[in-house]
Symmetry: D2
């Protein structure tokens, strides 16, 4: 089992999916130990660091990668199994950014109102208690919140020769911002170009569903994952599998379309796994779906469809890839 | 503590919020033991009962009520605490209805395609195991799913003299179809007219988030609730409180607007409970919100914002109404 | 030909469609000479009259009616032919209303930003030049704009026992706010209740498509119309016919759904008029549709699908009702 | 005045905005005489040519270009003035494509219904009468429709290193599919990269507003345009100017957001041209806007905001660029 460590130099960050040469070519089965910078490129470190001065657009949400997976061809499936996500700094940061976020007019939901004020919150990490601390700025409230590390952004090079900003989620994955992308999950992505060319980043020490203000508790992350290649079977939309759930992530606007694609994606998956016809799969989904939102702030909104495995008969998606990856993961020293 | 039992005659069902005379006038503090008919008016009992022949539009989703609460005035808050929801039949039913549902063109998302076929699934109730059984129609799969009884529809008479179909969710509550409306929850609704005039119905033995095909496992329900009146404080959108969560339900289209109103409703609630300013409340929400969908099929879509109480300092919403209602509930024999 | 004049007393305004007793019962073929108050109930008359103090919610958008049309039954079609719309005051008024309008957060597109300021513009009417005068408030620009009188609101009692605010457009018509509702047009509405119970109001001396700020150049109006009853044929969505166009108005959210229903409504109409199959009608529509927006500010947004008659073979919609009504109109002294 | 003629070889088509080397470097002031292939790459020529067999995805909507404009820098404005658009074939073609179009479920508005059937319509061009002929396939109707040649797609390389499919409209222009892009119009686009790198194509001999079925009367086109460079002033969204109108095109989803950005774009333009404050510009727009839709079928929907110049005082946008380009155009032999 090959183990590759990679921590990008500042000049090596990728800010797009597609359009970037691979930083490494790896074999299927490789263990990657990566470092990901935070979405602010590490430039927001104290409450006085405000986005309009600290950030240099469009150079935000830097990605680690892309990685070329040997043998990956269009139509194949990349399986990225996250073994461990460990916060790599002693603080996380969150900001309000003018005309960005879910509860403000934006560049698209364009209004004539004045933007909300910029504000930065720094969340102290307590490694022992595994918490991050919210501190109100205009009053005295301090609340410790459990850490729940995740990656906001995981994706491959898009189809049709497109190159997309790392701020975008779509069929190729990207900036989905779902808390489901945590250690223990396997992410299945369809390969669009030779090698797949996946990248990842945007560590969140914690995030609410919807990511209302547009930023989570953003922080650099040490990421361990195992990369596997499954020939064929590339799903229309990103899928996740955990020990407990089957998950499909849809990204579009309006939000009902993001939800629709994730639901239809799950209907398809249930048909495949259980030999159901379309209407039976639709019905079974209707009574078992969990539908937590991921983000309602990005270029496309992302909605999640989850079905608990405990409600369904045993089935081995992708030939049991998740279980095998869990076993592999158990052999890796943290 | 007054206890009132009421089981409507068929002619007593209400099919609207507003526009109907109260069936009872009750005092604050009353315990109600009600029976609610299922959304199909009990007309779908076997797989061969199909909506197009078994239902008589617009007479679907019959409500039990309305109840006039003595002393309730516009601007007040009704607190409806659900003590017990017990399925009242040995089966539940779910259907696909032509041009209704989340994964089909509809009367609004109008397309030129042929409708999906009608199909009815009957779910056998196993009282001992507390399950309902899904049986595929086109293949052999049979799956037992845990029961999780809830009410799809709880609401008051609307403002501005409007009368709305019981199929509609909006600021007055109504057909929100959220699984959060289960036993143990307190629902807070703003009073728009003297007496409040609340009704409820649409029992679901189980429902997935989003209610994809448009119908849950629909079934008649025995409902026990305590009704309390809080002077003033009527919330802009329905709120729920459980031992574990603060919840706001927003209903609108597109789905992002339903989510936005539920999120702004929670920002307001957090500001009130913790003396936060708007931006701090926005930030705290952004890192703590759970955002499960309710329905993406009704006249308005409904989105839920939940915040776990465990993440927040103790606070007594509505003067501790929920805790008091829980104590009252504990004294009621089931 | 019976001619009925009616100018409501202040206490006679209707603020809902449905839920109001008819002010008159009329025979098909009747000519009505009506007076309609402006959407502000005549309470905004100078730039210092601001909505938050001058208006009493929900008593805005007063309607003249409803009128009971003898013999009208559910499923029938009311044909309302507008013979003349003449501004009844020497000024029109427009305002920005906090958290209402197309380029601001609203009660539904809920944001946390401060509302836009209230401002009132008074438009002087020049009867001779047939203009209204825009005067900038913060600078010196003065522009005379051609008058183009129209009715923002025309509707019947809704189906299913609903009662809807006069601010709402939907299948029953209502507050569609389309400039197409001008003299020379025939509006076809499906009857939902005995007598139809139509009302109208919300005169605009001029309005841009979309009604961006939420209010047009609002003004009281003298309205002359002929009312005809067509047995059967009630359209799913309001239709308009002029000498030049066939028009369908759809109202929903998101805006694409409003457009979709108006387009499907036109596909249906073209199929009926020309014996086309669905796909041919879809194709013909695709190359001939004009799609001007009506409003993007109301409870539902309204989109218009227009097809120029000049592009199509001659056809007599509704048995030539529009032509006959035009002939009748020509015999009426203004 | 330099005149450059260019007709791409098949291998020279561009299928993206960005990511393609320029075919020519030109000086500001150049006249271009170009040939554009139709959106089907010329592969649909008779009713039996159906998209699923005749098209090779993603190689549709081929663009002619890109052209590098000497001196164009990020932030500048390209002014493309269309002098002449002449259909270059004796027929146009339109199709329904499975799961693409406005009145069908799509890859985003995902449903479980069967797709609409594929069908191809060939429109014969009558050069003398300047018409194209619609012929129903399932019945006998034949209708001659006036030609109204336009370009569906005009755009520059996107910002932030993105490369976008030629099927996409966004801030960089692209596949806006508005009938306003006809001879006599000047299109203003913000430059994002050195040289601007604009391409164009997707000729339509005629198109309805909204482009309901997803395709117009598609046809190869001879295009004459003048290219001018304006330093600075790059607009947030594409603008058009004709002798009669100021126009802004917004592209997003849901459709109300496309409309909002086009409206805010026009508010900004009116503020600049007339020294209005924001609220006065909002008001003036509200009473003068025309809001015809462009497309409700592409990756983003496109909405148009038009204001008639006749309603406004004279003003010289971009230093009178449009008038100068009209004068230049008058000197060019067709």
């Amino acid at each position: 089992m090959e183990v590759i460590e990679f921590r990008p130099e500042r000049a090596q960050y990728a800010f797009t999916f597609g359009g970037v040469a691979p930083v490494r070519k790896i074999q299927p089965g490789t263990v990657l130990r990566l470092w990901t910078e935070d979405a602010f490129c590490g430039n927001i470190r104290q409450p006085t660091d405000l986005p309009s001065s600290a950030l240099t657009m469009p150079f935000v949400n830097p990605q680690t990668g892309p990685f070329h997976v040997a043998g990956a061809e269009p139509g194949d499936t990349l399986a990225l199994h996250f073994v461990d996500l460990t916060p790599a700094r002693s603080f996380g940061a969150s900001c309000t950014i003018p005309l960005f976020g879910g509860l403000t007019g934006t560049d698209r939901t364009a209004t004539l109102q004045d933007p909300l004020p910029e504000r930065t919150w720094i969340y102290e990490v307590d490694t022992e208690r595994q918490t991050v601390a919210f501190e109100a700025q205009a009053s005295d409230l301090r609340v410790e919140l459990p850490m729940d590390p995740m990656l906001g952004t995981v994706g491959v090079a898009p189809a049709a020769g497109e190159v997309r900003s790392s701020l975008v989620p779509d069929t190729f994955g990207g900036n989905m911002d779902t808390p489901e992308m945590r250690a223990g999950a396997t992410c299945y992505l369809a390969v669009n170009v030779d090698g797949g060319l996946f990248s990842l980043g945007d560590g969140h020490y914690r995030q609410g569903e919807g990511e209302a203000c547009g930023t989570a508790v953003e922080g650099a992350m040490d990421v361990t994952l195992v990369v596997e290649l499954i020939k064929g079977g590339g799903p229309a939309w990103p899928r996740l599998e955990t020990d407990e759930h089957l998950i499909v992530v849809g990204s579009s606007r309006p939000l009902e379309d993001a939800w629709r694609v994730s639901q239809v994606g799950m209907v398809t998956w249930l048909m495949d796994l259980y030999g159901l016809d379309k209407m039976d799969a639709y019905q079974l989904l209707s009574q078992t779906s969990q539908s937590p939102l991921a983000n309602v702030v990005d270029v496309n909104y992302s909605a999640v469809t989850k079905v608990p495995k405990a409600l369904l008969p045993a089935a081995a998606a992708y030939g049991g890839a998740h279980r095998q990856l869990r076993e592999t993961a158990a052999t890796i020293s943290q």
